[in-house]
Symmetry: D2
Subunit: 143 residues, 4 copies
């Protein structure tokens, strides 16, 4: 199931739990072209988790990042209010950070929620969305 209640799995901290869920999701990555799996786990303000992985395509620009898969999934289930997203990869020497495209998509749903950028050992950096996309591009919605 897509929805998981984070509280059911909580041990020490929700941050670590969310990162672990992103690592599980990474196992579903479809990345035959890059061989570079990425995972994400998105926590809604009411405690639900939606996970994502990268999904690639023969035409590389038609693939999608893990973070955007998670966000689109949540929105398609009616959730638009988010508390945090965890991102993980297999890279051991740097924290994986969202690409600019993903930052813009996170921004669509709020500027001050949390992005957890992790390493495989569960260590992480924590920032808000707008920290990662300062002077954000936003558009007034037409009525």
């Amino acid at each position: 199931h897509t929805e998981t209640s984070l509280s059911d799995k909580m041990t020490d901290s929700w941050e670590l739990d969310l990162i672990k869920l992103s690592q599980e999701a990474m196992g579903k990555a479809y990345c035959p072209y890059s061989k570079f799996p990425v995972g994400a786990a998105l926590l809604t303000t009411d405690g639900k988790v939606f996970t994502g992985c990268n999904v690639e395509n023969a035409c590389s620009n038609l693939g999608l990042c893990a973070e955007r898969v998670a966000v689109n999934k949540a929105v398609s289930e009616g959730y638009r209010n988010f508390k945090a997203i965890a991102v993980c990869s297999e890279v051991v020497d740097t924290y994986i950070t969202p690409c600019g495209g993903c930052r813009q998509v996170l921004l669509e749903f709020g500027q001050t929620w949390i992005v957890l950028m992790s390493k495989p050992d569960l260590s992480y950096e924590k920032r808000t969305v707008v920290d990662l996309i300062p002077m954000p591009f936003v558009l007034k919605i037409r009525d």
Copy 2:
């Protein structure tokens, strides 16, 4: 929940059922910029359904179509074998067809599965993926 078993809801034909599920999903569309909601419902070969809607962005090219949302969702849950996808919109005078980007993404997971392109009255056109993207662009996966 994202997963729905189609058989639970089957009445006359699976095609109509799938189109109805796509219409339900359209209700979740996030399309404040275009005001053009689209829905999709993807049926896996083992009978599960994943739904999608369009999810737009202030930067229009970072949004995503309903069909791709549904496919990415299924893949992120471990499903890569599909039987059919239904697509719907509010347009009454023409069957809504997938854009070229979506056709390429459908193609990634097989050439001969079914695309149902519907109108609000549940009438539809039925084609295979490759019917909609002849002379398909495919890439051999590197080992």
Copy 3:
């Protein structure tokens, strides 16, 4: 210079000339991630040629195909009426065809213009845009 007058270079047939220009453009490809260079050459109705190559990105979905680079380039110079586009790659055993995303972008500027899909030996397949994206997705422009 981006603009080249095809007639200056015409030898036997404009199709072969356009394919040769696409092959020259392929030499500019920025594809450090896929190592799969692609070239395109777009002929406007008034005889100008705009060339393109694929331009990749560390985030693969933010790269762009050669065909779309050529089209965007032409549009940004004020050209929107096209006669043909040639596409080439280094693949010897199949004609390179545009991805679905590119077919949709070609379609934006007309259904019946020509797509030349080539091999390195200059042999090619010739189709109209709508041949490659039947039952096209189009949207009425709002006034």
Copy 4:
């Protein structure tokens, strides 16, 4: 012609000249869906300018921003070393900033070059690329 030598047009400052060129380019925008024209002008390290405008599509996610049009154009002509990019729109009350997707594409070609974000009155904000996408996502290129 795509290439313009900035020095030919230099008056008071290169920043204002580049912004003016972006405003000219905005006149070429193809934006029938959003009615939101954007222009860009990209200055290479050897003084050439490539301009861009947004180019939209019936399928909104297959359009492209002005900044990326300019970068792809330059790369397709063999230029990959950039000094600055100017961005403009018709919005009078805020400086137009690049979307996250564009920031990622700018980043592909260096972290410390200049982004000029302008208003119609030629006033502007000046930042480096990495100022706009801190903790950047980069990938080591495989040999």
